[in-house]
Symmetry: C2
Subunit: 462 residues, 2 copies
């Protein structure tokens, strides 16, 4: 194959840019001098500081700048703008080697253990992602939610092994070096705990969307399809269920139907551009796109093929759904279509009537999001929200709706539709086929927030 570089015209016709000067001419043209201590201390390196100070003095003298009238509530107020300290001094220099952290002013944005529904067992617990602070669709790696059954394993990747055995022609053992040598695949997917939103259908009500919906994260995951390794091992035709087991102290495990395992199931070693964090399964986890989080077994050490499911603790005592007739549904692993408004949400305070952008997430374990409706009048009417691309399969999708709040008390909520035609149900709809009792797993009901006349936003579950 040959490609010609015929389009490499480096000097372009930029009609409103000056023709290039010589280096001496350039220095003469520049209004700036090389750095001096005095320049830095004056915060005046562009040579424009005096003009800026005159402008700002004028602003203060004139008593105000015209309001930014296009957006109610964001009036730019007149004020005396002192030159801040950080414009008059040198900042932190670059370290030889570093891993950056958020600003000290963002210390309130953390992954939090629930303080509403308190779990007494330190080692079998969960922490929630602050989705009310999340921008865009990506969850920062330091804020991806946690759910552990025996604490966070601290695994040496050089010692870690993955075993494939059971009803296979050739049992196999892999090192991490083996696995990362395979061609890799990266995919954007959401990850949601089956218990996300479970507490709010009980007597205890959560306050924030972090507490109600924070067992939800999204990033780009990198690894290999498990089907490649199972093909190498050679599944016995009678093999129908596949065990995925973790190397943590609880040996958390799940039985997965062979069709899912040979379909889009992945072995994941990286998330958000780097190797997995310990609490998210370092150095290796399973990943079942669109299925409840606990099936994406972390710290993965073993894959075993069988002709039937195992009926593990996590498939009987846990992660099952009560039905109206007193029986419990097992293996309900798909996370159905769901959405929630993250801004404004519980604990926030609106600053008077005016324009607000209602923002939130929609997602479906069945596929892609086709539409999201928003109500701002307690469900009397629903309007179509804007969806922001890229809209990806089994991935968080941002919806946005511009709302002009009249200052009256109301309730707001969202309702998502996926590409299978499934519509996020009301709580009443869910109650028709399931018992709303105990730990309600897989609760994807429409979730309302109330807004008071004072602008206070609260959990509005009846």
């Amino acid at each position: 194959m040959s490609r010609n570089s015929t389009n490499n015209s480096y000097v372009k016709d930029m009609s409103d840019v000056l023709a290039g000067p010589t280096r001496d001419e350039a220095h003469a043209l520049s209004r700036q001098k090389p750095y001096s201590k005095e320049d830095v201390l004056n915060g005046d390196l562009t040579g424009l500081g005096a003009a800026r100070r005159r402008f700002l003095a004028g602003v203060a003298a004139a008593g105000g700048v015209a309001a930014a009238g296009a957006l109610g509530g964001t009036t730019a107020k007149a004020e005396k703008l002192a030159v801040p300290e950080w414009s008059k001094s040198m900042g932190r220099p670059i370290e030889p080697k570093a891993y950056g952290m958020p600003s000290k002013y963002e210390g309130h944005v953390t992954r939090n253990r629930s303080d509403i529904f308190v779990n007494k067992q330190n080692f079998s617990d969960w922490s929630m992602t602050p989705i009310q602070h999340q921008k865009g669709i990506l969850t920062p790696n330091g804020l991806i939610f946690e759910r552990h059954h025996a604490g966070v394993a601290d695994i040496d990747p050089d010692q870690h092994r993955l075993v494939i055995h059971g009803m296979v022609k050739r049992p196999l053992v892999f090192t991490m070096d083996d696995l990362t040598r395979y061609p890799s695949v990266s995919k954007f997917y959401f990850l949601e705990c089956s218990g996300n939103t479970l507490t709010d259908w009980l007597a205890v009500k959560s306050k924030t969307v972090q507490q109600t919906h924070g067992l939800l994260s999204c990033t780009q995951w990198t690894g290999i399809p498990v089907s490649w390794l199972l093909d190498e091992a050679g599944i016995d035709p009678a093999g129908k269920w596949i065990l995925f087991e973790g190397a943590d102290g609880s040996a958390h495990a799940r039985s997965i139907p062979v069709d899912k395992a040979m379909g889009d199931t992945m072995l994941i070693y990286a998330a958000g551009g780097e190797m997995l964090r310990p609490e998210n399964g370092y150095p290796l986890r399973a990943f079942m796109p669109g299925w409840e989080g606990n099936t994406s077994v972390k710290w993965l050490r073993r894959i075993k093929v069988s002709d039937k499911p195992w009926h593990l603790r996590s498939e009987t005592a846990r992660y099952t759904d009560p039905m109206p007739d007193g029986r419990w549904r097992q293996f309900s692993m798909e996370m159905e279509c769901k959405s929630v408004i993250t801004n404004p949400s519980g604990g926030m305070q609106l600053k008077g009537p005016g324009l607000y952008e209602i923002k939130g997430f929609a997602w479906s374990g069945r596929g892609t999001i086709k539409a999201v409706d928003v109500t701002t009048d307690g469900g009397k009417s629903w309007k179509t929200a804007d969806l922001e691309g890229p809209i990806m399969d089994k991935c968080l999708t941002r919806f946005r709706y511009r709302w002009n709040w009249d200052g009256g008390p109301t309730k707001i909520a969202s309702r998502a539709l996926d590409d299978t035609g499934y519509v996020q149900p009301s709580v009443e709809d869910i109650a028709k086929s399931r018992a709303i009792a105990g730990f309600v797993q897989h609760h994807n009901g429409i979730f309302p927030w109330s807004v008071s006349a004072g602008g206070e936003v609260k959990n509005a579950i009846a």
Copy 2:
């Protein structure tokens, strides 16, 4: 608008899943007992530990597991698999509030100050992203490259102000609360320093791709189009250039043509799902998609409209390109189409002949990547690599090429094509229209790595 929830059948026909048991039946079915200390210490919580130990004993006794023959070089070796400590103990419990960090075993993955081309000024320096370790297209927030002119400003967002003035009808001042109240937009974009790859055309050669191409990062950026605010301010028809100035000690600034500013230029306050990190401009920066990084002014405090460019220090003494006639091209801000192989790359060691996946990044400030070619014979022949979606405008695109290395010495390189028909040039092509001298900004030449017969990978720039 009304949507019917007709598709909400919660109890589905899952033919290979058992009908739900009662809770008592479920407990009886389970092979697991509730946790006990003994269970945990034995690492035997699934009830399958004994079987696993028998299997592994068998593996050791039989002297080996069959090799994973499909992928040369990843033979699974027989070995005695002891139960590791982390499978026999409780791990780290969840903290009440936390911001997670990488595993201690990933401590070598850091953003590094250059140790090849050493800058003597601590406060005007850069650090490079370890792109050889990056998985997928996202750069973790802690590893996004840095370039500062007076160190990292530590700005209190409550005190920060953005001023818009100059040739406008209404000068405006904004607080961060004002700006974050606007409807927001999130976009995936690469960010590249104009000086990326500059040192390797000088006498000093870098060793790793972090050193040669690590002034390159990619994430999802969130903020608002600057055109919304400029429309509010009302640009004078004679206004043709717009100054963006930072609040850091250097007051770094650039003159931007009005068409770009009113086009896709954004005011960014978040990246990778959270508020910007201090070193990347917290709480506010400009973002010029596809343009050299220094135009995306960090710690943005001022936007001023004028009828001509300012010819700032960063537009004369810096960030200009030498031409063959001794003149210097100014305002060459677009980052043209480029690619590089990140795996294998300088400093890596191949473990003998066999299959390797050649991986790398391609990107273009002009638009989307259409194709990447890879040579594994020093440029004699070029083969088309696979591109991994989603392929987004002005965003890193992963290419992958499966290479069966025969063990002989050779050179490998990549060459990208964008949707304008522009082909990444050779160094010889670039030299036809520009002087390869001094700090060569905007160097997007095809970049070769040599592979020795021993598997050692090195920078192969002549």
